[in-house]
Protein backbone atom coordinates (compact mmCIF):
# COMPACT_ATOMS: atom_id res chain seq x y z
CA UNK A 1 0.00 0.00 0.00
CA UNK A 2 1.41 3.39 -0.93
CA UNK A 3 1.44 5.99 1.82
CA UNK A 4 -1.25 8.61 1.59
CA UNK A 5 0.01 12.18 1.20
CA UNK A 6 -2.26 15.22 1.46
CA UNK A 7 -2.51 17.39 -1.68
CA UNK A 8 -1.07 20.40 0.15
CA UNK A 9 1.96 20.10 2.39
CA UNK A 10 0.85 20.33 5.98
CA UNK A 11 3.42 21.42 8.53
CA UNK A 12 3.58 19.00 11.40
CA UNK A 13 3.04 20.89 14.63
CA UNK A 14 5.94 20.16 16.92
CA UNK A 15 5.49 20.80 20.60
CA UNK A 16 8.34 22.99 21.82
CA UNK A 17 9.72 21.70 25.07
CA UNK A 18 11.28 24.06 27.54
CA UNK A 19 15.06 23.64 27.70
CA UNK A 20 16.11 21.98 30.91
CA UNK A 21 19.19 23.43 32.55
CA UNK A 22 22.29 21.29 32.10
CA UNK A 23 22.73 18.47 34.56
CA UNK A 24 25.59 18.98 37.01
CA UNK A 25 28.06 16.31 35.94
CA UNK A 26 31.00 14.57 37.55
CA UNK A 27 29.59 14.65 41.06
CA UNK A 28 30.42 18.36 41.31
CA UNK A 29 29.22 20.10 44.45
CA UNK A 30 29.65 23.64 45.81
CA UNK A 31 33.16 24.25 47.04
CA UNK A 32 34.71 21.88 44.55
CA UNK A 33 37.82 23.05 42.76
CA UNK A 34 37.51 23.09 38.99
CA UNK A 35 40.14 23.57 36.32
CA UNK A 36 39.15 26.01 33.59
CA UNK A 37 39.95 24.74 30.15
CA UNK A 38 39.38 27.68 27.87
CA UNK A 39 39.49 31.42 27.71
CA UNK A 40 41.77 33.93 29.36
CA UNK A 41 41.94 31.87 32.52
CA UNK A 42 42.94 28.57 30.93
CA UNK A 43 44.51 26.17 33.37
CA UNK A 44 43.50 28.12 36.45
CA UNK A 45 42.03 26.30 39.40
CA UNK A 46 38.87 27.95 40.67
CA UNK A 47 36.25 27.40 43.33
CA UNK A 48 32.79 26.35 42.17
CA UNK A 49 30.00 28.25 43.92
CA UNK A 50 26.72 27.18 42.38
CA UNK A 51 24.93 26.37 39.16
CA UNK A 52 22.94 29.29 37.79
CA UNK A 53 19.48 29.06 36.25
CA UNK A 54 20.94 29.16 32.75
CA UNK A 55 22.94 26.01 33.52
CA UNK A 56 26.27 27.82 33.62
CA UNK A 57 28.49 27.37 36.63
CA UNK A 58 29.27 30.32 38.89
CA UNK A 59 32.93 30.28 39.89
CA UNK A 60 35.34 32.59 41.61
CA UNK A 61 39.15 32.41 41.78
CA UNK A 62 39.10 33.70 44.52
CA UNK A 63 40.19 36.88 42.78
CA UNK A 64 43.03 37.61 45.21
CA UNK A 65 44.62 34.23 44.64
CA UNK A 66 44.51 33.78 40.91
CA UNK A 67 42.83 36.77 39.31
CA UNK A 68 39.66 34.97 38.34
CA UNK A 69 36.62 37.12 39.23
CA UNK A 70 33.02 36.01 39.77
CA UNK A 71 32.50 34.32 36.47
CA UNK A 72 30.06 32.14 34.61
CA UNK A 73 31.55 29.08 32.98
CA UNK A 74 29.91 26.36 30.85
CA UNK A 75 30.41 22.92 32.33
CA UNK A 76 31.99 21.58 29.20
CA UNK A 77 34.94 23.92 29.67
CA UNK A 78 35.83 22.68 33.12
CA UNK A 79 37.44 19.63 34.66
CA UNK A 80 36.31 18.91 38.21
CA UNK A 81 39.00 17.88 40.68
CA UNK A 82 38.41 15.85 43.80
CA UNK A 83 39.50 18.68 46.11
CA UNK A 84 36.90 20.72 47.96
CA UNK A 85 37.16 23.89 49.97
CA UNK A 86 34.76 25.35 52.50
CA UNK A 87 32.57 28.06 50.97
CA UNK A 88 29.81 28.06 53.60
CA UNK A 89 31.02 31.40 54.94
CA UNK A 90 30.41 33.13 51.65
CA UNK A 91 27.11 34.67 50.52
CA UNK A 92 26.63 34.64 46.78
CA UNK A 93 22.85 34.23 46.67
CA UNK A 94 22.48 37.62 45.02
CA UNK A 95 24.68 36.64 42.11
CA UNK A 96 22.44 35.36 39.32
CA UNK A 97 22.42 35.45 35.53
CA UNK A 98 20.98 38.99 35.68
CA UNK A 99 24.10 40.12 37.58
CA UNK A 100 26.15 39.42 34.46
CA UNK A 101 23.85 41.13 32.00
CA UNK A 102 25.53 43.82 29.92
CA UNK A 103 24.39 47.38 30.52
CA UNK A 104 22.36 48.57 27.56
CA UNK A 105 23.88 51.54 25.83
CA UNK A 106 21.63 53.99 24.08
CA UNK A 107 23.51 54.62 20.85
CA UNK A 108 21.77 56.35 18.07
CA UNK A 109 22.68 55.08 14.67
CA UNK A 110 23.64 58.41 13.20
CA UNK A 111 26.54 59.36 10.92
CA UNK A 112 28.26 61.42 13.63
CA UNK A 113 28.09 58.58 16.08
CA UNK A 114 29.63 56.24 13.55
CA UNK A 115 32.62 58.49 12.88
CA UNK A 116 32.97 59.76 16.45
CA UNK A 117 36.07 58.59 18.31
CA UNK A 118 35.41 55.51 20.36
CA UNK A 119 34.32 56.14 23.92
CA UNK A 120 36.54 54.98 26.75
CA UNK A 121 35.79 51.65 28.32
CA UNK A 122 33.58 51.93 31.36
CA UNK A 123 35.47 51.22 34.56
CA UNK A 124 34.52 48.11 36.51
CA UNK A 125 31.61 49.07 38.72
CA UNK A 126 32.30 49.57 42.39
CA UNK A 127 29.24 47.57 43.33
CA UNK A 128 30.66 44.55 41.54
CA UNK A 129 34.03 45.05 43.19
CA UNK A 130 32.32 45.09 46.56
CA UNK A 131 30.37 41.94 45.74
CA UNK A 132 33.58 40.20 44.67
CA UNK A 133 35.28 41.20 47.93
CA UNK A 134 32.42 40.03 50.11
CA UNK A 135 32.07 36.69 48.32
CA UNK A 136 35.80 36.01 48.38
CA UNK A 137 36.28 37.01 52.01
CA UNK A 138 34.16 34.10 53.14
CA UNK A 139 36.27 31.70 51.12
CA UNK A 140 39.87 32.86 51.44
CA UNK A 141 39.69 33.22 55.21
CA UNK A 142 38.56 29.63 55.57
CA UNK A 143 41.44 28.22 53.56
CA UNK A 144 43.79 27.45 56.44
CA UNK A 145 46.30 25.34 54.57
CA UNK A 146 48.88 27.46 52.70
CA UNK A 147 49.40 24.54 50.34
CA UNK A 148 45.78 24.79 49.19
CA UNK A 149 46.27 28.52 48.63
CA UNK A 150 49.32 27.78 46.50
CA UNK A 151 47.35 25.11 44.70
CA UNK A 152 44.70 27.66 43.73
CA UNK A 153 47.39 30.08 42.64
CA UNK A 154 49.11 27.59 40.36
CA UNK A 155 47.90 26.82 36.88
CA UNK A 156 47.28 23.28 35.73
CA UNK A 157 49.81 22.20 33.17
CA UNK A 158 50.25 19.06 31.12
CA UNK A 159 53.78 17.78 31.01
CA UNK A 160 55.56 14.99 29.18
CA UNK A 161 54.03 11.67 30.01
CA UNK A 162 50.78 13.13 31.33
CA UNK A 163 47.83 11.90 29.35
CA UNK A 164 44.45 13.36 30.33
CA UNK A 165 42.58 10.11 29.78
CA UNK A 166 44.76 8.29 32.31
CA UNK A 167 44.96 11.11 34.86
CA UNK A 168 42.87 11.04 37.97
CA UNK A 169 41.65 14.47 38.98
Amino acid sequence: MVKWYPTEDVQKVRVKRANKPARLRGGVSPGQILILLAGKHQGKRVAFLKQLESGLLLVTGPYKLNGVPLKRVPQAYTVPTSTKIDISGSDFSKVTDAYFAKEKENTKKTEEAFFAPKKEKKPFSDAKKAMQKSVDAGIVNKVADPVVKKYLKTKFRLRNGMFPHTLKF
Partner: protein, 134 residues
Amino acid sequence: MAQTRFVEIGRVAYVNFGPESGKLCVIVDVVDAKRALVDGPVTGVVRQQMPFSRISLTEFVLPIKRNQTSANVAKSFDEHEIVKKWGNSHAGKHVASNVRRASLTDFERFKLMAAQKKKSLLIKRELKKIKPKH
Protein backbone atom coordinates in the same frame (compact mmCIF):
# COMPACT_ATOMS: atom_id res chain seq x y z
CA MET B 1 76.52 -9.84 32.56
CA ALA B 2 75.32 -13.45 32.41
CA GLN B 3 71.74 -14.43 33.19
CA THR B 4 71.16 -14.83 36.88
CA ARG B 5 67.43 -15.57 36.93
CA PHE B 6 66.31 -18.65 35.04
CA VAL B 7 62.99 -20.04 33.98
CA GLU B 8 62.60 -23.05 36.25
CA ILE B 9 59.88 -24.95 38.06
CA GLY B 10 58.96 -22.85 41.03
CA ARG B 11 60.24 -19.52 39.66
CA VAL B 12 57.95 -16.72 40.83
CA ALA B 13 57.10 -14.40 37.98
CA TYR B 14 55.37 -11.02 37.71
CA VAL B 15 52.82 -10.63 34.94
CA ASN B 16 53.42 -7.41 33.00
CA PHE B 17 50.42 -7.22 30.71
CA GLY B 18 47.34 -9.08 29.67
CA PRO B 19 44.29 -9.90 31.74
CA GLU B 20 46.42 -11.06 34.69
CA SER B 21 48.71 -8.04 34.64
CA GLY B 22 50.04 -6.82 37.96
CA LYS B 23 49.86 -10.24 39.65
CA LEU B 24 52.47 -12.71 40.78
CA CYS B 25 52.42 -16.30 39.56
CA VAL B 26 54.57 -19.40 39.81
CA ILE B 27 55.99 -21.34 36.85
CA VAL B 28 54.70 -24.85 37.33
CA ASP B 29 55.69 -26.41 33.99
CA VAL B 30 57.16 -25.38 30.67
CA VAL B 31 55.05 -25.99 27.56
CA ASP B 32 57.53 -25.03 24.85
CA ALA B 33 60.13 -22.42 24.08
CA LYS B 34 57.58 -19.62 24.25
CA ARG B 35 55.06 -20.67 26.89
CA ALA B 36 54.93 -21.81 30.47
CA LEU B 37 52.19 -23.24 32.62
CA VAL B 38 51.70 -20.82 35.48
CA ASP B 39 49.61 -20.88 38.60
CA GLY B 40 48.92 -18.26 41.24
CA PRO B 41 46.26 -19.56 43.63
CA VAL B 42 47.19 -17.02 46.31
CA THR B 43 47.35 -14.04 43.98
CA GLY B 44 44.33 -14.93 41.85
CA VAL B 45 45.99 -16.25 38.70
CA VAL B 46 44.08 -19.24 37.36
CA ARG B 47 46.28 -22.13 36.25
CA GLN B 48 46.93 -21.36 32.57
CA GLN B 49 49.44 -21.08 29.78
CA MET B 50 51.39 -17.86 29.80
CA PRO B 51 53.77 -16.67 27.11
CA PHE B 52 57.20 -15.72 28.48
CA SER B 53 56.87 -12.37 26.74
CA ARG B 54 54.17 -11.41 29.24
CA ILE B 55 56.10 -12.14 32.40
CA SER B 56 59.18 -10.92 34.23
CA LEU B 57 61.15 -13.33 36.38
CA THR B 58 61.53 -12.31 40.00
CA GLU B 59 64.34 -13.26 42.36
CA PHE B 60 62.17 -15.80 44.22
CA VAL B 61 62.04 -19.56 43.58
CA LEU B 62 59.74 -21.99 45.35
CA PRO B 63 60.84 -25.59 45.96
CA ILE B 64 57.88 -27.20 44.19
CA LYS B 65 57.66 -30.22 41.92
CA ARG B 66 56.70 -30.12 38.25
CA ASN B 67 52.89 -29.93 37.83
CA GLN B 68 52.44 -29.44 41.56
CA THR B 69 48.79 -29.16 42.55
CA SER B 70 47.35 -25.68 43.06
CA ALA B 71 46.75 -26.35 46.74
CA ASN B 72 50.38 -27.25 47.32
CA VAL B 73 51.61 -24.31 45.28
CA ALA B 74 49.49 -22.07 47.51
CA LYS B 75 50.92 -23.74 50.60
CA SER B 76 54.49 -23.20 49.44
CA PHE B 77 53.72 -19.60 48.41
CA ASP B 78 52.41 -18.79 51.87
CA GLU B 79 55.17 -20.67 53.69
CA HIS B 80 57.84 -18.62 51.95
CA GLU B 81 55.86 -15.37 52.44
CA ILE B 82 56.36 -14.41 48.80
CA VAL B 83 53.78 -11.63 48.89
CA LYS B 84 55.56 -9.93 51.79
CA LYS B 85 59.02 -10.47 50.27
CA TRP B 86 57.84 -9.10 46.93
CA GLY B 87 56.48 -6.01 48.67
CA ASN B 88 59.87 -5.41 50.29
CA SER B 89 61.92 -6.12 47.17
CA HIS B 90 63.25 -3.39 44.90
CA ALA B 91 61.08 -4.42 41.94
CA GLY B 92 58.02 -4.84 44.14
CA LYS B 93 58.43 -1.39 45.61
CA HIS B 94 58.84 0.10 42.14
CA VAL B 95 55.61 -1.55 40.99
CA ALA B 96 53.78 -0.31 44.08
CA SER B 97 55.07 3.22 43.58
CA ASN B 98 53.93 3.22 39.94
CA VAL B 99 50.47 2.11 41.03
CA ARG B 100 50.42 4.93 43.59
CA ARG B 101 51.56 7.49 41.01
CA ALA B 102 48.80 6.49 38.64
CA SER B 103 46.20 6.99 41.35
CA LEU B 104 47.31 10.48 42.42
CA THR B 105 44.67 13.20 42.31
CA ASP B 106 45.36 16.66 40.88
CA PHE B 107 46.03 18.10 44.35
CA GLU B 108 48.38 15.26 45.25
CA ARG B 109 50.25 15.73 42.00
CA PHE B 110 50.63 19.40 42.87
CA LYS B 111 52.01 18.56 46.33
CA LEU B 112 54.41 16.09 44.73
CA MET B 113 55.62 18.74 42.29
CA ALA B 114 56.13 21.26 45.10
CA ALA B 115 58.07 18.71 47.16
CA GLN B 116 60.18 17.74 44.16
CA LYS B 117 61.04 21.39 43.50
CA LYS B 118 62.01 21.92 47.15
CA LYS B 119 64.19 18.81 47.12
CA SER B 120 65.99 19.75 43.90
CA LEU B 121 66.60 23.26 45.21
CA LEU B 122 68.29 21.88 48.32
CA ILE B 123 70.40 19.54 46.20
CA LYS B 124 71.43 22.36 43.86
CA ARG B 125 72.47 24.52 46.81
CA GLU B 126 74.67 21.79 48.24
CA LEU B 127 76.09 20.99 44.82
CA LYS B 128 77.04 24.61 44.28
CA LYS B 129 79.03 24.54 47.49
CA ILE B 130 81.03 21.50 46.43
CA LYS B 131 81.49 22.34 42.76
CA PRO B 132 84.72 24.19 41.98
CA LYS B 133 84.15 27.66 40.61
CA HIS B 134 85.39 28.33 37.09
